[in-house]
Assembly symmetry: C2
């Protein structure tokens, strides 16, 4: 474990950020993550059939490198999507220049872009900043925070999460830890639909780093399971982005090996489970941070769906509610108009019995057997959903399917932010 | 043909409206359509699995009466949905009282409700108004206009459409016409998904009347085809209502019989086609009027999708665009941000090739082969979509699938209207 690694950051990575002039605001917009040694990698990408140039390059590079990444290059202010051959060539040029500057094979570079769609990326602006970036990178929390800020677009706050796993040691031995750190951005176009090398959504960019040693296939299994419970269960506006990316890198710098429980190598099932739980903690924290910082959001809503015919039906119902403009505007006004929830459940496509739907706002009975609950109290319901965060419980009484989903209201501010984005 | 029938209204129907005290505004909220003789009927209802009490009664009544309707009873201000047994009993009580007042069999009554969900209908308020309604009904345009106003909720303007078909007559004979009249309401919760006796959407209520003589099965065939090209191709907010209803009544009072071209009776294919075309004219006019009066709407957008792999894929793409908050808010700001259109096409689920997408705003080339068009002019694009109505053409170059779809922007006013609806 590197002496330089601070308390919460995984060893083996350095970070940097600079201003390349892509953001109209003039704020930092170009960041990198450099691995001291090629890191084992797993990735998920948007399921949108229109996807950005850097994602195409990422998939090719991961294949060529056998799942190794040395350099992550992230720009904000330009999505480099729907920019044709010019966009692809621009991303490729930045990768080649960065590989030369940082002395790594080009196929170990991993580019990401977020921002406006349809405008070719000005590669030369990024390339000009590479030497400066190289000399300024470092492993500290300050360097990590600079990265977190530079990748923001309409985000209001930087988003990071950390987890540590302490390893059992013999008496007198120094304590040993492995670390997981996550950093992400995302505020609008947030409804990730991630698939391995093919499907998350929203312009959400997520970078997860650990100093455990984990081979790429195991890393991918861990990432898939964790993303399905976190990033694939959030929605701000239902718009699945062309650029969503989640990257998990394992530097191995802790010297601690984690193998799949069913692998032939000497695996430690408890350590594997502990690592999976710690990863879940980081991914669900980041997912909730994205929702909380959603464009114009004033209420964060946790949907607890149970009693659905299947988990897929539970998710269908959650998404139908999370994407209903009428439900989301009612939340903006703290209006307990639960009929809109019932309507959204009804058109979700899930198997339901309208006369067995129960809805609670926190502990308050709202709807029972599909009708207004006997003890329904509009004032209490209004007060409960006036809170910045609240939970809605829905029981369909159809089976064992369930899900937890995080979403937001739809406010005047969302309209203001998005009615004047590019012009 | 009744001497009383005015120029554009079908003979055989009378109309009335009154104030029953369901609307907080105190405006008229209870309307009826009374057929002089039981009228042949065809109907379509929301596909939402949660549907309102009157729709359940309508389906039973149409079955019992063999497709005959004498009395349409419409209240606004209360959807009578998710109100359990009490809601069903309330609707039933109004039907029974109305059948007695108007001397028709109860199964020939057709109730409709629109308004807030989850509040039991106060039947006694409606029943008290029946005698007054009976004495005031009439066949004039003034009576018809009173009906159009009483069924409005968040609608700003009344919505009617008319068509006449002149029949060939011998020299010296008086001209003979058949008439079609339509009246509807709908402004929010507008994304109808109609099926025969099972599926339209949004709280859209549509009543189509003709004085042609058409038997119920033929009437249903005509209605299905016409609704699929009109009401099933509009969306304001993507919320499919629990109460959507389209009813087509044929009084036969013109004495002109219209039969299906393939029926055994002496059919007149030309007359059938002319009637179908006139019906399409009325339904598409009403559908566009609903979109134009959508909640908070400042831009009405016609989507012309072609070159899709199938008609179903074309509709999938149109709906994906029409339901994207990012696209709709961009339209609100007349922001030509076409990348959001490309993203919505990409996550629609339709078969596409990202590099073969062409987009035009009216005659302006915007996107060619998935990238910014060579002659793209942002200022011209902005000016074109600053108009209150505009057309977006999308060609996927995948096949012969196409559709025409009408939708709207998403504005501050939509948020204002819906963030404070019931409280």
């Amino acid at each position: 474990m590197s002496d330089l690694a601070p308390l919460f950051l995984p060893a083996g990575f350095r970070f940097g950020a600079t201003t390349a002039g892509l953001k109209a605001s003039g704020r930092p917009d170009f960041a990198i993550i450099a691995a001291d040694q090629p890191a084992s990698a797993a990735a998920l990408f948007t399921a949108n059939k229109v996807s950005a140039a850097p994602l195409a390059i990422d998939k090719i590079h991961l294949g060529m490198s056998g799942g190794l990444v040395s350099l992550v290059l992230i720009n904000a202010g330009n999505a480099n999507c729907a920019a044709g051959e010019a966009g692809y060539n621009a991303a490729k040029a930045v990768c080649l220049a960065a590989a030369e500057t940082f002395h790594c094979p080009p196929e170990q570079t991993f580019p990401s872009s977020t921002g406006i769609i349809g405008v070719p990326l000005p590669a030369e602006k990024l390339i000009a900043k590479l030497p400066g970036l190289k000399s300024s990178i470092g492993p500290t929390h300050e360097h990590f925070a600079a990265l977190a800020q530079a990748i923001m677009t309409t985000d209001l706050v930087e988003k990071t999460a950390f987890a540590r796993i302490e390893l059992p040691v013999a008496d007198g031995e120094a304590p040993r830890c492995i670390h997981i750190a996550g950093v992400c951005k995302g505020s609008g176009m947030i409804h990730p639909q991630l698939v391995p090398h093919a499907a998350l959504h929203a312009t959400m960019l997520v970078y997860l780093l650990t100093d455990a040693a984990i081979e790429p296939a195991t890393l991918q299994t861990l990432l898939n399971a964790s993303a399905n419970k976190s990033f694939n269960c959030i929605s701000v506006d239902g718009d699945t982005s062309t650029n969503d990316t989640v990257l998990l890198l394992a530097s191995g710098a802790s010297g601690v090996q984690i193998a799949a429980p069913d692998s032939n190598s000497a695996s430690n099932p408890t350590l594997y489970e502990n690592f999976a739980a710690a990863l879940d903690q980081v991914t669900s924290s980041l997912a909730k941070q994205i929702v909380a910082d959603g464009e114009g959001v004033t209420h964060v809503v946790e949907l607890q769906i149970k009693g659905a015919a299947s988990d897929a039906d539970a998710l269908r119902i959650a998404k139908s509610i999370a994407h209903s403009p009428l439900v989301k505007t009612a939340w903006a006004g703290a209006d307990p108009n639960w009929g809109r929830l019932v309507a959204a459940i009804g058109y979700s496509g899930a198997a339901i019995d309208p006369e067995r739907i129960d809805i609670r706002f926190g502990d308050l009975a709202i709807c029972e057997n599909g009708g207004r609950a006997a003890e329904y109290n509009e004032k209490a319901a209004h007060e409960y959903i006036s809170q910045p965060e609240f939970t809605i419980h829905i029981d369909l009484h159809q089976g064992e399917g369930s899900c937890t989903f995080w979403t937001t209201d739809l406010t005047h501010q969302y309209v203001s932010i998005n009615a004047d984005y590019s012009t």
